[in-house]
């Protein structure tokens, strides 16, 4: 039993250690998020509450922007849904490695599954057979990322409260720059570029729609353009090829 506990702690620590680069990378985003909150209609504790219970960087950024733009709650929830849909791909990829765990473990790990934790946990699991590894490495990575996000959010909240003039400098450009850094590496084929262009142009054109619905409509059309181009390209190559021919 003692040996088992020891190895669990070791795994936990290893997961946290391997997440360190991601934690450093997330730090500026946490600070920017906290700062944006201070310039929005939200109070400081709302910002920390959001980090505590939502724990999804890009969705949090977007929500703060939409709150400032007086979007309705339902549209913000719908946008949260769309923005976070990518997590379905992550959990589907990791599912074979957690399927053997008791339900309470699966619920807990799901709550900690962010882009960064997925990247770290998947790299770890890939080297092992499904069902062979315990949950502690994943948990360690997730907890490290979670605590890190809370700390940087808090720092951002204090920072923004101490320097209220930041918003007039156009600090929300930091969010634009962040998103560009996420988008550009994903533009690996014409269909992604076309999908992004369609959604960007239409989102601009449809800005006047009530409750920011134009944004959701633009995303739908953008995804449609990407799908159409994928189908036109005919026989799909690469990752999805095997699934399709079955």
């Amino acid at each position: 039993m003692n040996a088992k506990n020891n190895s669990a702690i070791k795994e936990l620590a290893a997961g946290a250690r391997d997440t360190l680069p991601m934690m450093i990378g997330a730090a500026p985003f946490g600070v920017i998020f906290g700062t944006l909150v201070t310039a929005s209609p939200l109070t400081l504790w709302h910002g920390q509450l959001m980090s505590l219970v939502v724990f999804a960087g890009s969705a949090q950024f977007i929500a703060v922007g939409m709150i400032a733009g007086h979007a309705s709650f339902v549209v913000i929830w719908a946008t949260t849904f769309v923005v976070n849909l990518r997590h379905v791909l992550y959990s589907a990829t990791l599912a074979p490695y957690v399927a053997h765990l008791p339900a309470r473990w699966r619920w807990a790990l799901a709550g900690l599954l962010t882009d960064e934790v997925f990247a770290v946990a998947y790299t770890h699991y890939q080297k092992r057979a499904p069902g062979e590894t315990g949950p502690h490495y994943f948990l360690g990575s997730g907890l490290a990322m979670y605590l890190n996000w809370q700390a940087w959010t808090l720092i951002g909240l204090f920072f923004g409260a101490a320097f209220p003039g930041l918003k007039s400098l156009g600090l929300d450009f930091a969010m634009v720059a962040t998103f560009i850094a996420i988008i550009v590496p994903q533009l690996v084929a014409v269909r992604f570029i076309a999908a992004a262009l369609a959604s960007g142009v239409l989102s601009f054109a449809w800005q006047g729609w009530p409750y920011k619905l134009g944004l959701l409509a633009a995303v739908l059309v953008g995804v449609g353009v990407g799908m159409a181009l994928t189908l036109i390209e005919g026989r799909p190559r690469g990752r999805n090829a095997k699934e399709r021919t079955q």
């Binding site: 209609p41 939200l42 709302h46 959001m50 219970v53 890009s58 709150i67 709650f73 913000i76 929830w77 949260t80 849904f81 769309v82 923005v83 976070n84 849909l85 990518r86 379905v88 791909l89 992550y90 959990s91 990791l94 599912a95 699966r106 619920w107 799901a110 400098l169 156009g170 929300d172 450009f173 930091a174 634009v176 720059a177 998103f179 560009i180 850094a181 996420i182 988008i183 550009v184 994903q186 533009l187 269909r191 992604f192 992004a196 262009l197 369609a198 959604s199 960007g200 239409l202 989102s203 601009f204 800005q207 633009a218 995303v219 953008g222 995804v223 990407g226 799908m227 994928t230 999805n240």
Partner: protein, 107 residues
């Protein structure tokens, strides 16, 4: 109080998405076409959010001019990111351009 409802709603939506596959397990499978569609979600959502902020930063029509610091710095960010693929460098350089443009060039 109202914002607390908003925040918990967001939490519920996010947690539901993250937990669905882990908890339902084998019962939830995705058709290849759904996976393909999901693959386009991140780029389209993020682009839809930033284009209006960049092109029309004041919300009154397009400002397609070099005097729009958002637009200039966003263009720099795209170039830096395409050339280096380094997120933090992209953010640092474009933020620097953004502030220099506002405080020096447009003075």
């Amino acid at each position: 109080m109202n914002y607390v409802i908003l925040i918990f709603g967001m939490a519920l939506v996010t947690y539901g998405i993250r937990a669905a596959v882990f908890v339902l397990g084998e019962r939830l499978t995705f058709a290849p076409i759904v996976r393909t569609a999901l693959g386009f979600v991140p780029v389209t959502v993020l682009t839809a959010i930033i284009v209006p902020m960049t092109v029309a930063p004041h919300g009154n029509g397009a400002e397609l001019t070099w005097r729009n610091p958002q637009l200039v710095a966003a263009a720099v960010a795209i170039v830096v990111c395409a050339a280096t693929r380094r997120a933090l460098l992209t953010i640092a350089v474009s933020l620097a351009v953004f502030f220099v443009w506002q405080l020096v060039v447009l003075r």
